[in-house]
Amino acid sequence: MTTWAVDSGIESSLREIREGIKEGRFPARAFNDQQIFDLEQQRLFPRTWCFLAHESEIPSPGDYVTRYIGNNNIIVARDEQGQIHANLNMCRHRGNVMCKSEMGNASHFRCSYHGWTYKNSGELIGVPYMKEGYEGRLKRKDWGLVNVRIDTYAGLVFGCLDPRTPSLEEYLGGFQFYLDLYLKQGEAGSEVHGPPDHWVADTDWKICAENFAGDGYHTPVAHQFGFNLGYFPSSGSTHSQGWAASIPGRGHGIGLGHSPNFPPFGGFPEELTAEMKRTLSPAQIEVFSKVRTAVGTVFPNLSFLMQPFSLVPGETGVRFVTMRLYHPVGPGRMEMYSWCLVPRGASQEYKDEAYKAYTLAFGQAGTFEQDDFENWTKVTRSAKSTMVKNIDFPYIMGMGSERDPDFPGPGHVVRPYVNDTNFRNLWGRWADYLVGDVEP
C-alpha cells in the first residue's frame, strides 16, 4: 500500500510510488490530484519534449498554428525561408496575445494593444513612438518573442522548454522503429488529413496515455459492441495474442495486437505495402506484417493508433491512423487533439476511405472514442474520492516476463498483448520526473 501524504511529504510519497511501480502497484489517487498536477506542470512537461504540430499542418511560408506546452500558448510558424519557429504567443511590451486564432498565415504579427510588430520568427521589428516615447532606451533585439527550442522527427515537431534536455533522437531512444509504422506510410510519408478534432474532457491525461501505451486488455469489453456486431477484426478467444514493447527508462510503449488469421499487412492497399517494403528496414517489415493493431504512446502525452476497420463484418477493411495529444488543463481535466494521419502519396480515394473509418471510430463522435472517454471520465471521478488515498491498482501482468527472444524490434518486448509491462515503464519514467531525478 502506498501511503499518500496529502499535505507535506509528497516527496517521500513519490519515492514510495516509484518503488511500488516496480512491485506492480500504482496509486489510484495519482489520476486526479491537484498536487500531482502541479508537480507535473513544474517537473514533467517543462523538461520533456512536448508535441506541437505535424509539419504538414503548416506547409507554406507564413503558415502557423497555435498550440500549448503546459498553459503556455505557443506559435508554431514557418518563416519565409521555410524554417519552423516556436515562440510564446505573447507580446513583450505588456503581454497581449499576438495570434488570436488557432491557425493562419502571416509574415508579421502586429500587436493590437500598442502596435509592437514582430516577424513570424519572433524578431521585434516595429515599435511605435520609438523616439518620442523610448528616447533611445529600448533595444529591439532584447525584446523579441520568447523563443522555444524545437526538434523534429519524420514530420513531428516537438518543443522543449529546458535547454538541458538531450536531443529528440536520444529522447525517443529507439522508439522511432515503431513510430515509422504511423509516420512513414509509403515513400512520401504521412500527413494530416485536416485540422484535428479538439474537445475538452473531465479526464486525466494519464489515463489516456496508459490506455494507448498498449491496453489491449480493455478492447473486448470497452468496445464490446464492435466485437458483437463484427466490426472489430479480432475475437475474444485470441485477443490476448501479440506483444507489448517498451523503451526502458524512456517511458515510451506500444502494444502490438496480432490475430492468427489476419493477413500480413491486411487492410493496407497493395501499392502502400510495396512502398513500405522498399523504404522500411527488414526488421520493421517483419514486425509490421504481423500487426493487426498498433497502439502506442510517446512519453508523456502523444499517442498513435493504427487499426483496420470494416463495416462489413468479417472483412479486412481499411487501415486508419490516428495521432492524439492529451493536453492537461487541470487535475482530471484535459483537452484532446485528435488527428487522422494518411499516407501522403496514396490516392485521394484511399485517404478519404481511411478518414471515414477514422471518423466513425474516433474523434469525438467516433464509436470507440465514445466508449473510451466514458470509461476514462469515470475513472477520473473515482480517483478523486478520499477513500482511495491509500488504494493501489494492480499492475502485475507480465511482471516477471522475459523478453521475447525472437522479436526483431528494439526495447523490452514481452508477450502477450494483454500486459501491464508497458505501463510500469510509463509510470516509472513519470515517477522519475516527478521525483526530480531526471538528468536534464
Binding site: 488570436k100 486564432s101 488557432e102 491557425m103 493562419g104 488529413h193 485536416g194 485540422p195 484535428p196 478534432d197 479538439h198 474537445w199 475538452v200 474532457a201 473531465d202 479526464t203 470497452a222 468496445h223 464490446q224 459492441f225 458483437n228 456486431l229 466490426y231 463495416l311 483537452e335 478518414y355 471515414k356 471518423t359 466513425l360 474523434g363 469525438q364 463522435a365 464509436t367 472514442e369 465514445q370 466508449d371 472517454f373 466514458e374 470509461n375 476514462w376 471520465t377
Partner: protein, 174 residues
C-alpha cells in the same frame, strides 16, 4: 427589406417542413432511434464539419476536410444498432437530450420537391447526476424532400458554434 414575393415558398410548405423537423427532433429526444431513421432518406448525407478558430478574414473557419460526423444512412444505422446493444457505454445511462429547434426558414432549391430548411438548434444534454448540462448551439442547413404525402431528410449539414467542444464525447445525434 423587401421580401421577394415571387420566389417565396408557400406558407403551407413552410409549416409542414417545420413540423417535420419538430417531429424528427422528438424522435431523437424520446430515443426512438429506429423511428428517427425513418425520417431520413436512403441517400442522406449527414455532415458536421470541424471548426477551427480563424481570423476574421480567413478563407474558412469550418474545415474543408475535417468532419465530426460524415455519415450515410448505412453508418447512421451502425450507430443506431450500437445504441441498441447493452454495450454502448457512452449512453449508459442515456443522455437526456432536448433539441430546441428555432428560426426555421425555408427556401427553394434548384431541385423540384426539395427545399432548403435553415434552422438554429440548441441542444441541452444532461447525464447522470451531473448538475451541469452540456449545451450545444448549431446552425443547420437541411435539404427536405417531398416523399409521397410527407417528407424526408435528404441532407443534414450542421455546424457547431464552438471550436473547442465542451463535451467528452458526441454520442448523440444533432
Amino acid at each position: 427589406m423587401t421580401s421577394t414575393q415571387e420566389s417565396r415558398v408557400d406558407r403551407e410548405t413552410v409549416l409542414d417542413i417545420t413540423e417535420f423537423l419538430y417531429r424528427e427532433a422528438l424522435a431523437l429526444d424520446e430515443r426512438r432511434f429506429r423511428d428517427w431513421l425513418d425520417f431520413l432518406a436512403e441517400d442522406i448525407r449527414y455532415e458536421v464539419p470541424v471548426r477551427v478558430t480563424r481570423e476574421g478574414l480567413a478563407d474558412w473557419e469550418l474545415a474543408p476536410t475535417s468532419r465530426i460526423f460524415d455519415d450515410t444512412k448505412g453508418t447512421l444505422e451502425v450507430r443506431v444498432r450500437r445504441l441498441e446493444t447493452d454495450f454502448a457505454w457512452a449512453e449508459q445511462p442515456p443522455s437526456r437530450t432536448r433539441h430546441f429547434v428555432t428560426n426555421v426558414v425555408v427556401d427553394r432549391t434548384e431541385t423540384d420537391g426539395e427545399y432548403l430548411a435553415s434552422s438554429n438548434v440548441f441542444i441541452y444534454r444532461s447525464r447522470g447526476d451531473d448538475p451541469n448540462p452540456s449545451l450545444y448551439s448549431l446552425f443547420r442547413k437541411d435539404t427536405i424532400r417531398r416523399k409521397g404525402d410527407g417528407w424526408e431528410l435528404a441532407r443534414r449539414w450542421a455546424a457547431l458554434d464552438q471550436a473547442l467542444i465542451n463535451a467528452h464525447n458526441m454520442s448523440i445525434f444533432i
